[in-house]
């Protein structure tokens, strides 16, 4: 029973990771790619780690896996935010199909004032 649940979690987790990777290739610019990478890879990885818990029961390994889930949930969005901000600051443009860029508008405004 536990092994079945673990296996299902493992498969679904890997499926989400694969979707994240496809998104990384298919989406047009760095910001959209980060979206796919962050969301899918976070949940996918968390599910894989959770499946460790179902496979082994509560012991040394699964406690580490649970802690890793916590760390991944905290660091992955923070890292994505840092990359996106750094990309924007170093002048990487948005995809041509983008509708608006309030961040660039506001930063240009601020530079004009200076």
């Amino acid at each position: 029973m536990n092994e079945t649940a673990g296996l299902i979690l493992l498969i679904v987790g890997i499926a989400f990771d694969v979707v994240g990777c496809i998104g990384l290739v298919r989406l047009p610019d760095v910001y959209n790619r980060l979206q796919a990478a962050t969301k899918c890879v976070t949940l996918g990885t968390c599910m894989i780690l959770l499946s460790v818990l179902f496979y082994t029961g509560i012991n040394q390994m699964s406690v580490k896996a649970l802690l890793c889930i916590w760390f991944v949930l905290l660091t992955s969005p923070t890292g994505a935010h840092a990359i996106a901000r750094a990309a924007h600051r170093s002048g990487i443009p948005l995809w041509d199909g983008s509708i608006m860029d309030k961040y660039a508008e506001d930063r240009e405004g601020a530079e004009d004032k200076v």
Partner: protein, 161 residues
């Protein structure tokens, strides 16, 4: 007192990670935790300890459930967009306003926004969050704020403010 609580939390994390009570392991843990506390103790958010109040803790549990629901939804959203032949995206960076004041609440809000459907927080300037949105449905700032921020803001207000 504040430092002692940090020390306890970090020590518990260390013991869970090493999963042993041999004196060498514990000694190394104490040294590592003290070094971490010495260099990084100041950036540890001050409001974190507030969460141990039972009412706030209840709302934290509610928040985690709501958050997990949105994370799952976000994944299906991304899967739909990525696997669709026509790539139905309409991206852009929008500016939304938050009424949260404490650092801890804002951190949680920004991270939650990143993990929920279609949005990625880029920067926080004053009270305004810049959010990259993969599929802009409205160009009106109040409505954007409504959609992106409100779903977490009231919960986070109850937990951390």
């Amino acid at each position: 007192m504040k430092r002692f609580i940090h020390f306890l939390i970090l020590m518990i994390v260390w013991l869970l990670l090493t999963w042993s009570l041999q004196w060498q392991e514990v000694l190394v843990g104490v040294v590592v935790v003290l070094i971490a506390e010495l260099f990084l103790g100041d950036i540890f958010p001050a409001g974190a300890v507030k969460v141990f109040n039972p009412v706030r803790f209840f709302w934290l549990v509610v928040y985690v459930l709501v958050f997990l629901w949105y994370v799952v939804k976000a994944n299906f959203d991304v899967a739909y967009r990525v696997l669709n032949l026509y790539l139905p995206i309409k991206p852009g960076i929008v500016k939304v306003r938050t009424r949260l004041k404490t650092d801890m609440a804002r951190t949680f809000l920004a991270n939650s926004i990143t993990l929920t459907p279609g949005t990625l927080s880029i920067d926080l300037v004053g009270d305004h969050l810049y959010v990259h949105w993969i599929n802009i449905v409205s160009e009106d700032p109040t409505r954007e704020t409504e959609i992106i921020v409100r779903r977490f803001e009231s919960l986070l207000e109850r937990i951390f403010e």
